[in-house]
Symmetry: C2
Subunit: 492 residues, 2 copies
Amino acid sequence: MGSAAADALLPLDASRFAAESRAVVDFLEVYYRDIESYPVWPDAEPGHLRTLLPDMPPEDGESVDVILEDVRRHIIPGLTHWQSPNFFAYYPMNASTAGFAGQMLSTGLNVLPFMWAASPAATELEGVVVDWMARLVGLPECFLFSGGGGGVLHGSTCEAVVCTLAAARDRALSNLGHEAILRLVVYASDQSHYTFQKGARIVGIPPSNFRVIPTLAGSAYGLTADSVHEAVKADVADGLVPLYLCTTVGTTGLGAVDPVRDLGEVARQYGMWLHIDAAYAGSALICPEFKDYIDGAELADSVSMNPHKWFLTNMNCCCLWVVSPALLTSALSSNPEYLNNVGGEGAAEVVNYKDWQIALSHPFRAMKLWLVLRRYGVAGMRAYIRRHVDMAKWFETMLEADERFEVVVPRRFSLVTFRLRPRHEGRDDMEALNRKLLVAINGSGRAFMTHFVVDNKFVIRMVVGAAMTEMRHVQDAWELVQDKAKEVQATP
Amino acid sequence: MGSAAADALLPLDASRFAAESRAVVDFLEVYYRDIESYPVWPDAEPGHLRTLLPDMPPEDGESVDVILEDVRRHIIPGLTHWQSPNFFAYYPMNASTAGFAGQMLSTGLNVLPFMWAASPAATELEGVVVDWMARLVGLPECFLFSGGGGGVLHGSTCEAVVCTLAAARDRALSNLGHEAILRLVVYASDQSHYTFQKGARIVGIPPSNFRVIPTLAGSAYGLTADSVHEAVKADVADGLVPLYLCTTVGTTGLGAVDPVRDLGEVARQYGMWLHIDAAYAGSALICPEFKDYIDGAELADSVSMNPHKWFLTNMNCCCLWVVSPALLTSALSSNPEYLNNVGGEGAAEVVNYKDWQIALSHPFRAMKLWLVLRRYGVAGMRAYIRRHVDMAKWFETMLEADERFEVVVPRRFSLVTFRLRPRHEGRDDMEALNRKLLVAINGSGRAFMTHFVVDNKFVIRMVVGAAMTEMRHVQDAWELVQDKAKEVQATP
């Protein structure tokens, strides 16, 4: 495009769209082909990009080729390559051909299912897909639309948590009056994701009313019913109101699992809202061998999991299921005139997703998850998960057979937590040593891992879960860990 | 894919990725070519899709061709076609070739700039792009990173509003103590988007402390400083604490504009947080002829606008700028151990976007907005906006020249509000008549418009803003409106 007149833009001209989109597909094809050759974690300095780019966008439009060349030169070298098969950090953030195809369709159609009438088929597909996922994950019928519950596709767990906290809060305040907001208490473990603390603060719970209950190695860092019970009893004695209990299946740091049934019984006894956060491990629950981890889910009020983590669904997509949609929508609904639909009056019984979430607008995420489920099938997804679990198991076995290392917490899914054993006593030495080991691993560019600290132990986290990871990458990572361990142990 | 083994998935095999992605590009190419032939608003019954789809995903994966055929048969006919050139409803939700390309890159790379270290170039590009947009929109330097402020790309205005409300609330409570949450008051007009009311409720402001201040035809439905001042004085006299004032440039129903400078002065006087919501009209502010509408922006604490509406940036993308990032991050930040970055310690001064938003995770939206700005350029975007404004002006002129119609509120941007004038006195008759007119327009499938109610008037809203809309579509819409008016006036 030369000097830009409006007509020259033709922003959705079909053949121009196709030509430029194909150029991007070609670009990404090369990216995926070459991705192993990039250092997983870039060697970038803060501010490096700003110095390379101008202060203002160009006056006249540029060609897609020029822009893609800049992506290649300026952006790619400064990225952490989350899709690299050698990415073992955080938790995975899966891309896939089907997830990408679904996002393309969603982005291309660019419709908004915020109300049924604003795009009927998009709203309905979301209802179908969340029911599919609920059945796959093994949730009880009460979380399905057919069982009086229902689900929605949010962008993140944090959003799901804020919405459920608001629903729980408003249920409580409708009985107690708004002043009681100062007396509401939220319970989580010291292993819960910080999103619960952030979410509780966002919805106005006093920060001093957030209880972080310690967990212990003896219960594999799962929350015990007794410890929650003690905390709740103390609060009730102080005139406070237990509101919300967070449980996690597969915690962020260590992959720990809270005992859902035991905690559910405590929650029931005190009328608390029980949420199950299965952001990462929810994907594993589609395999029958992991189903016991959500035994007792019928005692929960809400469950969430992120297909954008380990379920081949490109960013972003978080399933939230609730037993009582009415509690959610009464906290989040509104009916301004500009959203009433003339001619859509017969649709009183439909789902309007704007009332299930923070935002009004809501991308057509169902298309993406639908594509993944249909393209890969249930058997394919189970095999995909099991392959990662098996590779993690192999890595754990290698560590266990090597006396230099210890596995810190027994592996449950595809996260292995390990560290170098101390050669000498003293915590400082060990932390420094393992920190040096992690820096050496990541500095090699051949793998990227992150860490966690538990019981004063500096732990290296190695998660198998990137879509491209094969056995040879895990074997390479194990060799890398051994080599770097030798290096750091050799230096004083 | 036949019977699915894990190896057969190859979720990111480069050549398979390219082949299947090209099939989707081809599908969308046909969709855009044929889009004019679809009824804009579908004739769909609630529940229609669920009966067509099975209760469970398939056991084995299916081919992309089979899935695309189902999209064609089952999904497309049930969609409201937001990208149709005959879509004149709500506000637009622009797709474009460049926006799509940017989303493809973001989705394909699938990196997460939630922390600088988690993808340095993606974080930095976001900083560059929000500064570009701030300059384009004409915001004062205090909203730029270089001026001590800064911006972030959220998914929606609602998210931006919740974050700024939380920041304002926590600033107040840090002085007054958490009990004061019961005394905080938020002010908006009866034309403000309901997201403010929803947001205030989400962050725990008592619903009875949300003031909806009436606007009048005499001020073109803009909020007056006097009316706000009166409301604030009354609340202060009652011992309440004025917290947050919402102003809008281009309201949802009528496109009204609040006088930013006058309201900013009231906000300053009482120490209130001032937010400017320019979700739709923010795009027009890139044209110098509209800049006066944000005169006084230096008195605001935050500003938001949605490139996903009228700026050719596919869903979703909302720019939020703040004068004080520290107020935002102190309400939303947290530093759990699993996010500390070994080897990234030198990066203390970097932006970590997880602390600027509700969620931890955060798609690489900057890529999308960067593509749009570079591909179309400043001149191209200005011409694009002006072309829509000119078409809306033409439509308004036609209405004014036809004595059957009245323009209800003078047009400011690309929204025209109109109705049939009464032939007989009496409100019931007029509302019914105009409602019939709107049903007839939308029922034709040839255009889709929505409505609003102001001062008991049922108003039809006609927004020019879809990316494909050309003069001939607006002319067709005008013919359609005239024909349907004749029809409904002829029937008793």
